[in-house]
């Protein structure tokens, strides 16, 4: 059973990596968007395999559905005038990009590796045994846990978020919606 869990996890992880790489390197923007949507959905599925039901559901609802629609619309609006090929043509830039990514990766490994030492105390070591730690981490993504966090600890950001969304609506109304005269 444990083996199957890991296998499914690895399949989704591989899908995320491949689809996001393809989204960057695809020649046509339509392919880019499609593979980005695949990436969003597999991230959602990945959360579900880790029993983070709420985060998985929100990932699928917002990214898999909402943001994908926005992306598709954005292409439909620009349509014919957009450049035909999006392929990164300048070899120097591609090379520099790879160098940058590799540098960042090595910095990351250099900085993180001491903490990944199994002998060092993990973030959740206060729970006692390893199984207890796993069980408590498993609680994190569930709707119950997140509801408790939002409504007991993060009340302030939650209410601020409503104002943020309101500002978003007002801003959309002002920026994208023309006045009545434009009709």
């Amino acid at each position: 059973m444990e083996f199957l869990n890991s296998a499914v996890f690895l399949i989704f992880a591989a899908m995320i990596i491949f689809s996001s790489v393809f989204a960057v390197f695809a020649h046509k923007i339509e392919y880019s968007v499609l593979s980005a949507v695949v990436c969003f959905l597999s991230v959602g599925a990945l959360f579900l395999t880790l029993s983070a039901d709420f985060i998985g559901a929100s990932q699928i609802m917002i990214y898999g559905v909402g943001v994908s629609i926005l992306l598709a619309f954005a292409i439909m609006f620009t349509g014919k005038d957009s450049p035909k090929s999006l392929y990164l043509t300048n070899p120097l830039r591609v090379f520099l990009g790879f160098v940058l990514v590799l540098t960042f990766l090595s910095v990351l490994i250099f900085f993180i590796s001491p903490v990944l030492d199994p002998k060092s105390d993990g973030a959740f070591s206060s729970y006692g045994s390893f199984a207890a730690q796993i069980e408590s981490i498993r609680q994190i993504g569930t709707a119950k846990f997140i509801g408790r966090r939002i409504f007991c600890d993060y009340v302030l950001p939650f209410e601020l978020l409503s104002l943020l969304l309101l500002a978003g609506i007002v801003g959309v109304g002002y920026l994208a919606g023309g006045s009545k005269k434009d009709v």
């Binding site: 250099f110 993990g122 973030a123 206060s126 600890d153 601020l160 006045s179």
Partner: protein, 499 residues
């Protein structure tokens, strides 16, 4: 109810802004036209919020909402700065409002939301509150910067938006590393984890990411390139808001992060110093060949943010008090300069060409402009001189190893003299060019007030310096006050009230 008491005692300034934003949205629903009393409502609300800030008890450090919101002398002081800046912005926006009588309530509402985001940002004590507040400030700033519906303006807004998204992603990356290593998002818990476990490296890396992401708010490197375009193309009041209030909020949270969370991580001070040096060099060098005064203000603000970060990198109480003093004076000088530009702006922007002969035609306005720009340049008798002097003093006291650093900062202020003087010289040019000016009572209020403050604090700077020393001293031992609250979210979740 515990929360209700928190709200009543500690959060009144924010609640007033929250209610004010909803009220303005409601006014926006009722009417499309400029509502006559809207201005007085807005100023009344902001003034009330300011008064509420003043009457908060800041002698002791207190926390609201289970420790995610911090009230201390330092945070309340930054809130007062933000509110004062917002009120000045509202007065400054008079010309824009009069010329475009559309969506006035929305404009004010977004300013309210941005100010609220800034206020919660400076007193946030966990990363979720910090991030939501930061996004509230950012998103309303994006919308405000695009308030002129014109192609170039929208391009600038898009640049601002994309840069901001990258910056947010960088911050989130740093935060996720910290969360993965400590299991909590709260500053005090992360601080304890950094101290106890071998987390120095990871804290240095994620601190670098978080701080460089926050540098987007300060318009320093690595996220500075939006500033000139946005300052040029947004409504001028919004540019003033972005270059003052938004920066003050950014400095507030950076100072708090460096002194509370990443205390003792020397790599981070190095990074701050590097950011400071490169951004002041970039700001001053790019400013040299700029003719458009609004863009010049953007480069100057990049350089000024660099100066402030340079003293923050020293990490002593003296350097923090000089930074606080610099922030206060920067706010005054910038409002003086922006209000002069608002008077002069005829829609095509202000260039050194269009300023020619101003000193002979309109001596009073030219005097205000000279005092603002001379102050920004750091000339004696104006307040800018004292803030620069205090800054150099902080660097000198930090030890002789930093003398090359000091020389670099001095060299930069000398380079900056050139472009400030280009503006001043243009005003005394014999050849005169046509200027149309716009006066209104509200604009005159902010112009006169900020100019008088620039002159007054230049002459009597010692009370302000003493005050900023108090603020700095109240912030420096912040770490010690944190020891009171222990435990993580996980082993000590807040009890749910069962009914």
């Amino acid at each position: 109810m515990e929360f209700a008491a928190d709200i009543k005692n500690l959060m009144m300034p924010e609640i007033i802004l929250f209610v004010g934003a909803l009220l303005l949205c409601f006014i926006g629903i009722l009417t499309d036209k400029a509502y006559k009393r809207v201005f007085s409502i807005v100023v009344l609300m902001l003034g009330l919020s300011f008064l509420m800030c003043l009457q908060l008890d800041t002698d002791t450090v207190s926390m609201a909402f289970g420790g995610s919101f911090l009230i201390s002398k330092f945070t309340v002081f930054f809130k007062e700065l933000i509110l004062a800046g917002t009120i000045s912005t509202i007065f400054l926006s008079d010309k824009y409002i009069k010329q475009n009588q559309k969506s006035v309530a929305e404009f004010y509402m977004l300013l309210f939301v941005a100010a609220l985001g800034g206020m919660i940002l400076v007193s946030s004590r966990d990363f979720i509150t910090m991030f939501v507040a930061l996004e509230t400030l950012s998103i309303s700033s994006y919308i405000l910067s695009g308030f002129i519906k014109e192609k170039n303006s929208q391009e600038a807004t898009l640049k601002y938006l994309v840069t901001g998204c990258v910056a947010s992603a960088v911050i989130l990356y740093g935060v996720s590393l910290l969360y993965g290593m400590s299991g909590s998002l709260r500053f005090d818990v992360i601080f304890a984890a950094i101290k106890s476990a071998s987390m120095f490296n990871i804290a240095a890396l994620s601190g670098t990411l978080v701080i460089s992401g926050l540098c987007f708010k300060l318009a320093t490197i690595p996220f500075y390139n939006w500033a000139p375009d946005v300052y040029e193309k947004s409504p001028l009041a919004v540019s003033a808001f972005l270059s003052t209030v938004s920066k003050v909020a950014g400095f507030g949270i950076i100072i708090r992060l460096v002194s509370e969370l990443f205390n003792g991580i020397w790599i981070l001070y190095l990074v701050l110093g590097l950011i400071a040096l490169v951004s002041m060099a970039i700001g001053n060098l790019l400013g040299l060949c700029e003719e458009n005064v609004k863009r010049l203000m953007a480069y100057s603000s990049i350089a000024h943010a660099g100066y402030i970060l340079a003293v923050l990198a020293l990490g002593s109480t003296l350097s923090l008090s000089s930074a606080v003093f610099y922030i206060i004076t920067y706010l005054l000088m910038n409002f003086a300069a922006w209000s002069c530009l608002e008077v002069l702006d005829n829609g095509d922007g202000v260039t050194t060409e269009s300023l020619k002969g101003l000193a002979y035609k309109r001596p009073v306005l030219a005097f205000c402009m000279v005092s603002a720009f001379a102050s920004l340049a750091g000339l004696p008798i104006f307040v800018g001189f004292f803030s620069k002097f205090y800054l150099f003093q902080a660097i000198v006291f930090a030890g002789f190893l930093l003398y090359p650093f000091l020389c670099f900062v001095l060299l930069n202020s000398l380079i900056a003299l050139y472009y400030y003087f280009k503006v001043i010289r243009a005003m005394f040019d014999e050849q005169e060019s046509e200027q149309t000016v716009f006066w209104s009572k509200r604009l005159a209020v902010v112009l006169v007030f900020s100019t008088v403050m620039v002159l007054l604090t230049g002459i009597f700077s010692s009370p302000v310096i003493t005050y900023s020393q108090q603020i700095a001293q109240s912030q420096m031992p912040a770490v010690i006050q944190y020891e009171a609250i222990k435990g993580t979210y996980f082993d000590n979740p807040r009890p749910i009230s069962v009914r």
